[in-house]
Symmetry: none
Subunit: 199 residues, 4 copies
DNA sequence: GATGAATGAGTTTTCATTCAT
DNA sequence: TATGAATGAAAACTCATTCAT
């Protein structure tokens, strides 16, 4: 029961954040998306900041779960799958809101140490995941020998940059071009001589 | 005189935005960085939103001026110069604050059409600049034949993603790796056979 | 409890309106007459306008209750009783303030549709009451045959004009003359031949 | 030149008052209807109150001039002419705004002694005018012997009440009935036996 | 006379938080 | 747990007035 209510609050926060943006997010706007009362938010969380930090934790857990849920086994395919997951959410409607919410929270990092810490941790996890895939590809002889950390940093920058542009620019975002470039310029170029992209 | 005051307001807005962040940016916090009165902000701008939209316009003008101020002539060097400008501001102190401010304002785009429009315009200008450099390099026989738009979208995503990470993650950001990857995986790979990176 | 608070707000509004006048009526001035906090006004009413419209509704309900509370049964006496109620409030102290408040609110009608609607409704109720008394008097053979609607419009104009003058001109208002004229020129003249004013 | 500017300010005040109402009348709204600057209002008038008192003076002068401009000579016709002037402005477009402005200013009398004094003076002039007409009619044997002051007070209340209703209730005002009643119940009833209304 | 810039006090409204139940 | 009522601080914005030119 207690956990159920907190879950509902997380959902309400998500909905409110997507609708109004971080700067206009109020406890009232969260309560409006919540079936119980505004006072109850304060019963479950010490303050607005406490609630938001918990919310970010919650969001990032979902994100890491998504990333780890990859159905592919081939390293190159796994990279492409991740690029698409991050940049477009595989076309999932929910993803657009999710990315919007993430963009908002990321922009708070410079002013909120708790948020920043969560994001640093998350970044490390994701880059490690990418680097692991690269190492695996190299070991399997499928990828040429690149520095896995350097590749991971650049790959992640590119796909997250594409995601941001998608959220920020909307229709005007060059997401298809950005993803095509990721495939042609980063992934395909990673392949060892004589290896082709599957799929 | 009037123009001078507006300039002072832009500066005060920048200072306040850097110090408090967009979500906590108030007319009062801007007035606190401004030597004249708070009412004067409303005399010169119809509303807070009007002021902020003008401010973004002002910021983007400075950014485009910076980008166009490149001292390099070699296409590959110009790309690398731009990557470093965007990701690190060439180490300029001012740049960190500038990038923080930009991150905040970008996060408002989904909720503010005027801001979104400015950013869409700016994005088009920057990608066109990149694509032009690529076209020039191809014509000069220095670059292999890639789709300039595809390259521009990916290159821009990568450098802006790196910038975001720098702002968001601070010390923990893998900016050096990301820039190294941009050089090795994107720019060097663009070179036509037999051509080497100068510098 | 909640209803009690709203009642207190209506009372505070009345007090503030009487003291400062509509043009100088502020939420703060209402709060000053109210034992609880200023924010609570906004908790119970969406806006100042919402509060004032509710307040007018409240005032008019009291007014209609007063009019319907007439102790007389004779039609001519009822008309005279109403004239005195409207013009002087039967000497009640409370009435002067009430009429001042009404004058202020009426002056807002051209600029506020919600206020205007309330006043149009109230006007219809009052004139119907007058016309009913006239019809009753005619049926009882006590009044000569006049058009009840025409009489009602003129009678109401005269007594409300007298009320306005009382409020506007204060001591200098010719209220006694105006009421004497209403009795001699309007009510007495309405009597059928051979009928005299009682009382 | 000086006088010309003051005249322009009076006109601008009139326009602003009609458009926004007294409660929302600001120096800026007056300046908006004025071809010169807002500061100039303060050059010509010590304060907003000073300006408004001058404005009322100005309005009442125009009103008295209108009343004295009656083309009729027959006493009964003069009364009817005045009733229509006050209640409807003889259908003049300008009159609607004029009456609206007057209603606003009258409502300020309880809070502004200078305004109240002007209105008291104006009231005395108008009632004296009516009483004079009545005296003249009695002397000429055209009216029966009524108390001229009592008639004046009632007549004036009735026509001013009708005017207020016209402004306040708009389309819903029973102005035709009220004027018909003034003619049938007040003026016609004033005629000496055997005298008929002309025209 | 005339103006644009500037100001400080004040206006309505918002909001995170607390309290009584 | 849960809530409606309540609060104080602060938000954006307004406005009569003043000032320098």
């Amino acid at each position: 029961m207690a956990g159920d209510t907190r879950e509902q609050i997380m959902d309400a926060t998500f909905a409110a954040l997507c609708e109004r943006g971080y700067a206009d997010l109020t406890m009232q706007s969260i309560a409006d998306e919540f079936e119980k009362s505004k006072s109850l938010l304060h019963y479950h969380f010490d303050s607005k900041e406490d609630l938001l930090v918990s919310f970010l934790e919650h969001l990032l857990e979902e994100f890491v779960a998504d990333v780890e849920d990859c159905p592919e086994t081939d390293p190159a395919q796994r990279l492409l799958w991740m690029a698409e997951l991050v940049a477009t959410g595989h076309g999932d409607d929910w993803a657009e809101d999710f990315h919007t919410a993430m963009l908002e929270l990321r922009a708070q990092a410079p002013y909120n140490e708790a948020i920043r810490e969560q994001l640093v941790h998350n970044d490390a996890v994701i880059r490690e995941e990418i680097a692991d895939i690269v190492r695996e590809g190299i070991e399997a002889g499928q990828f040429r020998e690149v520095d896995p950390e350097v590749f991971a940093a650049t790959f992640r920058s590119a796909i997250e940059g594409a995601q941001s542009h998608e959220v920020i620019l909307g229709e005007a975002a060059p997401t298809d071009d950005a993803l095509a470039g990721v495939e042609r310029l980063l992934v395909r170029d990673l392949l060892a001589e004589g290896v082709d992209l599957k799929g």
